[in-house]
Symmetry: C2
Subunit: 336 residues, 2 copies
Amino acid sequence: MTRNRFWRLDRHPEGNTDFSRFLSLCEEAPAPLDEGEVRIAAKWLSMDAGTRMWMSPRTDGYQPPLPLGAKMVGLVLGRISETRDAAFPVGTLVRGFGQWAEQAVVVPALAGLEAVDETVADPRQHFGALGMNAWTAYVGVKDVAAVKPGEWLAVSAAAGATGSLACQVGRNLGAKVVGIAGGAEKCRWLREELGVDMAIDYRSENVEARLAMCEGGIGAFFDNVGGPILDAVLPNMAHYGRVAICGMVAGYDNDASMPGPARFDQILMRRLRVEGFFIPDFLERGAEFAPVLREWLDEGKLMVRFDETQGIENVLVAYERMLTGKNIGKVVVRVG
Amino acid sequence: MTRNRFWRLDRHPEGNTDFSRFLSLCEEAPAPLDEGEVRIAAKWLSMDAGTRMWMSPRTDGYQPPLPLGAKMVGLVLGRISETRDAAFPVGTLVRGFGQWAEQAVVVPALAGLEAVDETVADPRQHFGALGMNAWTAYVGVKDVAAVKPGEWLAVSAAAGATGSLACQVGRNLGAKVVGIAGGAEKCRWLREELGVDMAIDYRSENVEARLAMCEGGIGAFFDNVGGPILDAVLPNMAHYGRVAICGMVAGYDNDASMPGPARFDQILMRRLRVEGFFIPDFLERGAEFAPVLREWLDEGKLMVRFDETQGIENVLVAYERMLTGKNIGKVVVRVG
């Protein structure tokens, strides 16, 4: 069997750059499978901000820390190359939590492994319109932020994978959408390709002042970021507005680095509901989301732009692009 | 007709003390009633933290500011002494939003004026177990914080009017209750008279460390305070816990003075729901709350300790006692 290259977590990272100081690319002779395990020949790896938590030593996060010396964990799309689980025969196209490796070894039930639909033209859509980012967007916009037709939905990190899908879920559910993103190119893409009603470039525009132009206020806010963007949105929320807290990119590293929103008082003044959510809590509802997302994809109502990097040796480059917001759309790495 | 003494708002207060610099006691010859108005001979005035907002120039609060030179507004309990509304005959015992005055003049519909039950032994209970504080406690604990039997409910400002009722509502609904209050006497009262399961003196104890002893975490938090107490509670919340934001005493004055909770990230990490609420939004549900509260009162399950001050000239003393937490229980002023 060919040797397996994988990324190993050597030290806990600080910040969202220079990951090569903390992880290293290793190579091993694959070990034989244990009963119940499968081996996956990875085709693509998904780069997700949520996995940053696994690298952290924080024990109070939503994921326990990964032990130092372990293979880094992440979502994998590939084909079963060897199996000791009869439910997953060799050749099956699968998606689940594996490793940043050319060959992932998992116990299907523990990895949330699923056989995915081979009829989807671009298999990367299993990381896109049909993947975890889309499930997150759907649950966050529809259930947690409980958007209503005709009201304004604001989305931060709107040009990212989850954000761009959240914009489209909101639009598909009848909301007016304002996307907040960094840079003119992202804003142009949001307006011209995704058709948002308003795009705000937080690098060059006054977010709070522009949001004040959303008539009736922001009914629902899908927040991937926290920090100053949240500060700008809260005083522009409509009374009884809902804020879905999906991510706090700035805060994964250090439990003390991230102060709460300066305008926290608005939660009382405007009687807001602010709720954190985490898609693994909703995985069992997949049968409910998947058909809706598939229909929207087939109808051209969920566009995903892929930001693809080639080669497992370039995973850290892609990961840093995603965490620092240099990407537009969904960041994936082609490894097979 | 006898002259009417009332408190006039001369300037916007700063802080929660020295109100005599900002309000003055005035006297007037009562004006004739307009059509639809009633005059109330006040017996008691209710001292409520929420009225602090009316004194502020903030236009983004949950209440618009009261114009300078106006009579200060607050809850009044008294008898109709003159009427131009046939639904409120002279002699009716009523409660509603009137003025800090010996004689309040209101339009019943605008004042939320209600005739109250004469058979309640202590009429002050219309400001106590049957009043706005009790409605707030009931809605906040049962609906917003959605407390479940057997889980821990934490309450801040637990020895105050709303807090002490929130503790009892939680206990009556089957929760274990931890009350957080300032000072040994308040904590003794919470334990010995109200029967809370745990009382924490935030002045002399480490709130975060003591809350960590609540097995299973805090399922529901009824917060009257914000600030450092909220910081101590958030990392002790159970996953999927609910925080009902009822008040932020520290933040009524200055929209920039109150930073958000230092542990805001816990909203994501623990998937918490944080929701602001404001009892005037729920007044129409009074018919649902009132019978439950009356039954609990009659069964001895809602105890209210009154902190009563005599005389309209002493309103500011009582108000400051309440805002600075020197009271135990419900602060009222006897004016008639």
